[in-house]
């Protein structure tokens, strides 16, 4: 499929800057593998006095956006102190390139990971990453742990399994870990909501809306945010009724009778609570079940 790459992404994969390996590097960061489909080796020269990055070069195995993200990263950190460089996020790499297609965000995450690995290498620390971060492997296809997924969810405010796949690749292989990712999403988002509350951030004011407004907003949320994700997996969802705070839905296609539908239900409830009202309860229409 043809990706919607920005001109800057195209410029950077056509004419990447800082390709290669710095001589006698002070720091090396390597992430990814040829099996996973992308890998990045970042080498840095660091001024021992000022801790400023005086040279940065990369070698990348990967698609156009992986090459562009790697090259962009070297441009962004050149001349920065290690402390400043450590603040660079994957979102900033994507922004530098004028944005990346959502499915390619993991390329920018790879850049950030390589940078972290290189800085840890320089400081003689052990870089904890994916399968080594003492977490439990969730996605066996790509060796991604629950801790890594959690962090991506927190850092990038991810809300769906598709988001998690786009940023971490987790769930992008056989798909058997989707339920587990859904559970992690649910847990992390609940924790985040709780933390926000404890930090004295005012919880969202209970909106007052008419029943009609409420149903309309629920319908819109299902149409725009929930249905497309379900349809990708060959499923679908119908809104049957709204009674008070109870939203009654029926699954269609692959979702109907799917063992994981209670997890999908949790996800839908999370989304609707976030967008519409925090006290909504989503239930499956029992009569509709085969």
């Amino acid at each position: 499929m043809a990706w919607d790459y920005t001109d800057k992404v195209k410029e950077y994969y056509r004419h990447p800057k800082n390709v290669g390996e710095v001589e006698a590097p002070d720091a090396v960061g390597e992430v990814g593998s040829i099996v996973c489909g992308d890998a990045l080796r970042l080498t840095l020269k660091v001024d021992p006095e000022t801790k400023i990055i005086t040279d940065a070069k990369f070698q990348t195995f990967g698609c156009g956006s992986a090459i562009a993200s790697s090259s962009a990263l070297t441009e962004m950190i050149l001349g920065k102190s290690l402390d400043d460089a450590a603040q660079v996020t994957n979102q900033q790499i994507a922004d530098f390139l004028g944005g990346l297609p959502p499915e390619k965000m993991h390329c920018s995450v790879m850049g950030m990971d390589a940078l972290e690995a290189a800085i840890a290498d320089y400081r003689g620390e052990e870089h904890k990453h994916t399968d080594e971060d003492e977490g439990k492997i969730v996605c066996h296809c790509f060796g991604i742990t629950d801790k890594y997924i959690e962090r991506a969810i927190r850092d990038n405010k991810l809300t769906s399994v598709e988001d998690v796949t786009n940023y971490t690749k987790a769930g992008g292989g056989c798909g058997s870990c989707h339920d587990e990712i859904e559970s992690i999403l649910f847990r992390v988002r609940s924790e985040q909501a709780k933390e926000a509350k404890e930090h004295g951030e005012t919880p969202r004011k209970k909106k007052r809306m008419s029943t009609l407004q409420k149903i309309k907003l629920i319908e819109e949320t299902i149409d725009q945010e929930i249905r497309p994700a379900l349809q990708q997996d060959g499923g679908d969802l119908d809104l049957i009724d709204v009674e008070g705070n109870e939203v009654i839905v029926a699954f269609r296609g692959f979702c109907s009778g799917c063992v994981a539908s209670h997890l999908t239900l949790e996800g839908i409830q999370m989304k609707l609570r976030e967008v519409v009202l925090p006290d909504l309860v989503v239930v499956e229409d029992r009569d509709e079940q085969l």
Binding site: E30, I34, C63
Partner: protein
């Protein structure tokens, strides 16, 4: 800039003759073939002429064996679901791991509906084990559905032999011949296939039209229910301009079939040979002999397919890849994985697929442009050291830091 189109397994240029043939049915002859008046009458005749042309290309015995559809996927869906609905007591289907999604997705859907599906594997050349196929047939087997030629590698399955096995056991046999129509001679009169799918845009008709061959006497259930069109086997007013186009494309395909096999085959061989001679560290995916004359699938080690495609595209060359990034998923091609192609190669696979519109100049230009692109990407790749290729066991990087 020169443009070279080598992605004909994805879609093909619409032939000028085809456009000329279909235009009157957009502009003047817009009647409904089902109408009683002359507006419809003329059009009905054109539809039947197209049917005769398609029947001719497929070597069908009877015009009634051809059903027009909207695409290859519709033909596949129709054939599979029809076979199962016509035999409601049988709950088992045999297919292969390397099918097109139009078949695989239907089988996965059926699995969820309680059917048992056997997905036959292939060997590292992409070939089936027919003994294994036969061993898997039970009294519960309703259908065998396998492709005739693979869209990614061009590898050809022995449909005559599969059909003979199916006949012996009284099992229906459907084949997706989307990549074969116009490239290999099809003679349904003498091939034991019950249903066969084709798609117009793979042989120079426009997108949006296909056909399903259903052998006379095979019981059939429609997929699209509606009017009495196609003798009640496919509801919906005929897409007359597209159907006429399919007929014309079928006629042209029949006339060019020798050319496809000899001249196009020679071009493909020259391209493949030229690449093998000028670029190290590669492998050809799929059996070198038992495949379509128009297709070659080549994996370049140490580099990723999407990056190759993007740089080729910058030079006006269109091809496709089985790499993860270009497939829109994160895993490389299911076909290459089924063949056991190592990941180190699967991510760097490129498919070149030719048609009768390709020329010697196209091949020269591609052979000129490709090697420097691969070399450039290998220079960027952390896995490639030009002078000293790394030994196999240390090639895969880990997430560990480099020990220095």
């Amino acid at each position: 800039m020169r443009t070279v189109y080598l992605d004909n397994n994805a879609t093909t240029k619409v032939a000028d003759e085809v456009i000329d043939a279909m235009m009157p049915y957009l502009k003047e002859e817009w009647g409904n073939p089902s109408s009683m008046h002359d507006f419809g009458g003329h059009v009905k005749q054109a539809v039947e002429e197209a049917r005769a042309a398609v029947a001719g290309l497929l070597g069908a015995k009877d015009l009634s064996e051809i059903i027009f559809t909207s695409c290859g996927s519709e033909s596949d869906n129709t054939a599979i679901l029809s076979a199962l609905q016509a035999q409601p007591d049988k709950k088992h289907v045999i297919t292969t791991r390397v099918e097109h999604p139009a078949v695989l997705a239907v089988c996965q859907y059926l699995e969820r509906k309680g059917y048992r599906i056997t997905y036959l594997g292939v060997d590292n050349q992409g070939l089936l084990d027919l003994d294994e196929l036969e061993r898997n047939i039970t009294s519960d087997t309703a259908l065998i559905t396998t492709m005739w030629a693979n869209n990614e590698t061009g590898v050809i399955f022995p449909v005559e032999e599969i059909g003979a096995i199916a006949r012996r056991h009284g099992v229906l046999f459907h084949t997706d011949a989307v990549q074969v129509a116009g490239k290999l001679k099809i003679d349904m009169k003498n091939t034991p296939v019950d249903m066969l799918s084709i798609s117009g845009h793979k042989f120079h008709a426009p997108k949006g039209v296909g056909a399903l061959y259903v052998r006379h006497g095979v019981s059939f259930r429609p997929f699209l229910r509606g009017g009495h069109q196609e003798r009640g086997r496919r509801g919906g007013t005929e897409a007359v301009p597209n159907v006429v186009a399919l007929g014309k494309a079928a006629e042209l395909a029949g006339a060019h079939i020798e050319d496809e096999q000899s001249r196009v085959g020679r071009l493909r061989d020259r391209l493949e040979q030229g690449i093998v001679e000028s670029i190290p560290h590669l492998r050809i995916n799929g059996h070198r002999k038992i495949r379509l004359p128009s297709t070659t699938n080549i994996s370049f080690e140490f580099v990723e397919g999407e990056a190759i495609l993007l740089l080729l595209s910058d030079h006006g060359i269109a091809a496709s890849s089985g790499s993860a990034c270009s497939s829109g998923s994160l895993e490389p091609s299911h076909v290459l994985r089924a063949m056991g192609v190592p990941y180190t190669y699967a991510h760097g696979s490129i498919r070149f697929s030719l048609s009768r519109y390709n020329t010697d100049e196209d091949i020269d230009y591609t052979l000129e442009q490709l090697p420097p692109i691969i070399a450039r990407l290998r220079e960027i790749s952390p896995f490639y050291k030009k002078e000293h290729p790394m030994p196999q066991d240390t090639r895969g990087m880990t997430n560990r830091q480099t020990a220095r």
